[in-house]
């Protein structure tokens, strides 16, 4: 069987990271100490090259407007959007991990390889409506992540966090599989869109089996976006992982789960009729729960990474509200939100690396007074935290603005009020980050310890932080360009929702 050029175009974005992922372990075979340094550099270069190749290819594809497909793999605008999204997150994670692993004294090539496999899985996950391919993508990006959480083997939390993530993740995956099987059994097609049409045609919309199938399918997604009550793994996994991996997980896992849901939800789930409406109601309920639990729990955290974990849970709540509104404009808002969320969360986790906080030293106490030491980093930190809190003129405000506007417009005023109250609560713990950075002087003991340690040198992580800050600010000042040129087109041309 021969593959036509357009089919290659759909496949290539996935092939680049796969190639990189396969090459890197080969290099790690050499254990000679003298050459280790060069090998290490080469591995990072290969990983970056794989990501960059995918990125350039996808941006070219985006510019040309082509939407190629290879059987069940649809490299349409939405898939291109999520591909670019994931690759940018991966590039930032790779750059940050170079600095972070050197700080930890634990540089291993397999992490990069796993990361690239995960990237491939994510791109696959968002590019299809076929249930089997979807499940393949889900597992391909999840399994490497379980291992990546436990990367730093000599830390006890590493193994614990990884195991916890793996066990709960396995249950969620099997639920997802079960749900898909139920829908397949009733709808008679592995393609979820066709299955939904069949279910609707047969008038099975309110059938308990369909309801259960749709619910289980949704559960799989909600686990990945860490919505309450499927969120318990999040703080432990983030705390256990190296900072760049935690950042990557918080952004990419959540991002692709929402992007894939965006492909499935309006067409397949809502397309089923009664079951879809129920799912939307359940989503509204869980979004409220997520916002309340996520924000209130984040308030009492003393560890920055756990705070960011709960903050990422609460952000899932805002994004779910976008699905509750369910209008094309709200989906545009969700995509815009994700872009800004990528920048601010990768930036926030990157800050921890840039400040050289390794291991357990990620409490608010450890941040005290750091904002003044490196003004550029401090400025970026202020940008991220204010944006996470949704304060204008940062990009995060516009994401919330678009979602809340659609919520109000679709008559969910109560949900919008709850949403703004949640972001009021969130402002408190984001401010706490800034309080530690700027408003508190470092303790004398910390000063003494800092003078003993060598100066932190994290140029790559610092660069990613600045790039992320620039993206967040761009989201605040040229928001229309990002929203119309990027998010809106992914929704309209990829999903065909606005045509």
């Amino acid at each position: 069987m021969s593959i036509t050029p357009t089919e290659w175009a759909a496949l290539l974005p996935l092939i680049f990271p796969t190639l990189g992922a396969c090459l890197i372990p080969l290099m790690a075979l050499d254990r000679d100490q003298a050459t280790a340094k060069w090998i290490r550099g080469a591995m990072y270069l290969v990983a970056l090259a794989a990501v960059a190749a995918g990125f350039w290819f996808l941006t070219d594809l985006w510019k040309s407007g082509a939407q190629p497909a290879f059987h069940q793999l649809h490299m349409d605008r939405l898939a291109q959007f999520s591909g670019i999204f994931v690759l940018v997150a991966a590039a930032m994670a790779i750059l940050q991990s170079w600095d972070h692993f050197h700080q930890e004294g634990w540089v291993k090539g397999e992490t990069l390889s796993l990361l690239l496999f995960s990237v491939t899985g994510m791109m696959l996950f968002t590019a299809t409506t076929n249930f089997l391919v979807l499940f393949l993508g889900l597992e391909l990006f999840s399994l490497p992540l379980y291992a990546m959480v436990a990367t730093v083997r000599h830390r006890a939390e590493g193994a614990e966090g990884g195991m916890k993530y793996f066990l709960t993740g396995a249950v969620a995956s099997s639920c997802f599989l079960m749900g898909g099987v139920m829908l397949y059994g009733l709808g008679g097609s592995l393609d979820l869109t066709l299955a939904a049409q069949a279910i609707r045609a047969q008038g099975l919309g309110a059938d308990p089996m369909v309801m259960a199938g749709a619910a289980l399918l949704l559960l799989g997604f909600l686990f990945k976006v860490s919505a309450v009550p499927f969120h318990q793994w999040t703080p432990d996994a983030y705390e256990a992982s190296p900072h760049p991996i935690a950042g990557f997980m918080s952004v990419a896992t959540k991002g692709v789960a929402f992007l894939a849901l965006l492909r499935i939800f309006p067409v397949s789930l809502l397309g089923m009729g009664a079951a879809g409406a129920r799912m939307q109601a359940a989503l509204a309920f869980l979004a409220v729960l997520t916002l309340v639990v996520g924000n209130l729990t984040a308030l009492v955290q003393t560890n920055v990474k756990r705070m960011l974990a709960y903050s990422s849970i609460s952000h899932a709540g805002y994004l779910m509200l976008g699905f509750v509104a369910g209008t094309p404009a709200a989906f545009t808002g969700v995509l815009f939100y994700l872009v800004i969320y990528l920048a601010m969360n990768m930036g926030a986790f990157g800050l921890l690396t840039a400040y050289g906080l390794v291991g357990e030293h990620t409490t608010f106490e450890d941040l005290r007074g750091l904002g003044w030491k490196r003004p550029a980093m401090g400025f970026a930190a202020a940008v991220f935290m204010l944006s996470l809190a949704g304060i204008p003129p940062m990009g995060g405000f516009y994401g919330k603005y678009m979602i809340f506007k659609e919520l109000v417009g679709t008559g969910h005023v109560g949900l919008a009020i709850l949403g703004v109250l949640a972001s009021l609560v969130s402002a408190y713990y984001y401010l706490r980050f800034l309080v530690a950075l700027f408003l508190q002087a470092p303790s004398t003991e910390a000063e003494r310890l800092a003078s003993d340690r060598p100066a932190v040198h994290a140029p790559l992580a610092g660069a990613t932080v600045l790039v992320a800050a620039a993206i967040v600010l761009a989201g605040g000042f040229v928001q229309a360009f990002l929203a119309d040129g990027f998010a809106h087109r992914a929704v309209s041309e990829g999903l065909g929702l606005l045509r």
Partner: protein
């Protein structure tokens, strides 16, 4: 230059922020140079604002800029700026107070003074932007953005409780404006635009209950900023903990934005609802006037006393607005300027004595007059203006407000005016009692007391800061027309124009006994109530 000719407001609004960002990039080691550059920049903005806003030929078209900015989720947002009668003097007050405050607190900060100057300039952009914005979305951006520099100014350079005060200030204000945002989104969704006129039209089509809810959402956001009792609790904390410059600008401009929000947006957009809520607003204002004065009376800290006096004075502003009369609203406009000048000056003076004595406790002073005669003179003049002595600015504003309330034709008007007048008396009590304890009498004999640490009177820089303020206090007291003439037409339009058509006739018959007086007040406007011969 052609760009500048067509975009003077853009330049005035954003030049401080650009300079501020530039200064922020300068290292801490050149903090003194940064501070100087910041001051010169702010001064230049003041001079330009005078030249461009006041130096215009009479009768020329009002300054305005309008361009589409972006459209998200189907809602266009316009970049619309304008200076008109309602905000002209508030803009000038802002550009005036910023360099003045910088000069007045030149040596107050010991470290990171460059960053402080940079934040101050960013704050100036926020304030000016909020004042001139004619699109509610734009207004909201500036309104919220303003919080960020102020948060850091209080939190980094403030007193011992600065973190608590800064967080409280930030979250309190944010809570009001977030709920307001929902109301804004609701109304903008109906109107399809953020232009106030279009939104007002959409609002008038809504059922009355919905209008009331929207008005309440607007009013709460603005009332927190004013601050109106019982939403004032952030103010004493923020004022006392903020560094002098922060307190001055907080009292001088930030609080005004709350009152300005009522005049510019809340009342014209929901005239019926505003009418409906006039009584509760007036009641809260009267409570604020009396309560603020009573609490101020028992303060031991001079700065806290001034902070509570702000609650009382801003209560007058709100009372004037709630009276829904031209003279009352004009009084409120003037009172906002008065309060900016007098309370700003008081905070500056408190800062000056604090820099010398490192205490602000009333009990630590006594007999300051013998040690610092020039300082005492200035303090006394400002105190008298704050009390509202005739010939100073405070008198005119309060008189108009009380007059407007008395003649408003509302059933409660007379009673509230009488009670509020009590606030003027109480104002004299707490201010003069404080002056007596701090300045008069024998020098405090305690070696550790504040008075013993006062080794120098005001220097030339400090006198240069106070003189323009005193000149303004007298000018506004003797010839207030300079400052309210421009706002007369817009205020009259606001209350009588198509926005509030059915209101006046509904109200007038309810108080027939005040008919002739009412007519007089209506007919001649504030000009006929000027106090000077």
């Amino acid at each position: 230059m052609t760009w500048l000719n067509s975009h003077p407001l853009t330049f005035l609004v954003f030049a401080p922020a650009l300079l501020g960002l530039l200064l922020m990039a300068l290292p801490h080691s050149v903090g003194k140079l940064t501070r100087l550059l910041g001051f010169l920049g702010a001064l230049a903005v003041f001079v330009l604002s005078l030249a461009w806003l006041l130096g215009r030929a009479p009768g020329s078209a009002p300054l305005a800029e309008h361009a589409p900015w972006f459209a998200l989720v189907g809602l266009p947002v316009d970049y619309a700026l304008a200076v008109d009668g309602l905000n002209l003097w508030l803009v000038i007050l802002t550009t005036f107070l910023v360099p003045l405050t910088m000069l007045g607190t030149w040596n107050s900060l010991k470290d990171r003074m460059g960053t402080f100057a940079a934040l101050f300039l960013l704050l100036e952009t926020g304030m000016l932007g909020a004042l001139v914005a004619q699109d509610l979305f734009l207004f909201y951006l500036f309104w919220e953005g303003m919080l960020i520099p102020m948060y850091f100014m209080i939190g980094v350079w403030g007193g011992d409780e600065r973190r608590y005060a800064a967080n409280k200030f930030f979250l309190y204000t944010l809570s009001g404006s977030l709920l307001w945002l929902v109301a804004l989104l609701f109304l903008a969704g109906r109107a399809g635009s953020f232009a106030p006129a279009v939104m007002a039209q959409a609002a008038s089509a809504l059922p009355f209950a919905a209008q009331c809810w929207l008005f309440v959402a607007f009013a709460v956001a603005f009332a927190i900023k004013v601050p109106l009792f019982p939403l004032h609790t952030w103010l004493p904390d923020a004022h006392v903990q903020a560094p002098t410059a922060g307190s001055v600008i907080l009292a001088g401009v930030l609080l005004k934005l709350g009152g300005y929000g009522f005049i510019r947006f809340a009342i014209p957009m929901f005239p019926q609802a505003a009418m409906h809520f006039a009584r509760p607003l007036a009641l809260l204002s009267v409570i604020a006037i009396i309560y603020g004065a009573l609490v101020a009376m028992v303060q031991r800290d001079i700065k806290k006393l001034v902070a509570y006096s702000s609650v009382s004075h801003m209560g007058f502003v709100m009372l004037g607005l709630a009276s829904m009369t031209v003279i009352g609203t004009q009084g409120a406009m003037l009172q906002m300027l008065n309060h900016g000048i007098s309370t700003g000056a008081l905070f500056l003076l408190v800062g000056m004595i604090y820099d010398r004595a490192h205490t602000r406790m009333i009990a630590d002073f006594g007999g300051v007059a013998t040690k610092m005669p020039i300082f005492t003179t200035f303090f006394l003049i400002v105190t008298l203006s704050s009390i509202g002595l005739p010939l100073t600015n405070g008198f005119v504003g309060e008189f108009w407000i009380l007059n407007g309330t008395f003649l408003s034709g509302f059933g409660w008007g007379r009673a509230y005016a009488v009670i509020a007048t009590l606030g003027v008396v109480l104002g004299a009590v707490y201010m003069l009692w404080m002056v007596k304890r701090v300045f008069w009498g024998p020098v405090n004999p305690d070696e550790e007391s504040g008075t013993q640490h006062l080794h120098s009177d005001l220097n030339a820089r400090e006198i240069a800061v106070m003189l323009p303020l005193v000149v303004l206090i007298l000018w506004m007291g003797i010839h207030p027309r300079t400052f309210v003439a421009v706002s007369e037409a817009p205020v009259t339009a606001l209350l009588k124009d198509a926005n509030a058509p059915a209101i006046r006739p509904l109200v007038l018959p309810s108080a027939p006994e005040s008919g002739p007086l009412e007519a007089a007040a209506e007919g001649h406007g504030p000009a006929s109530h000027e106090v000077h011969p």
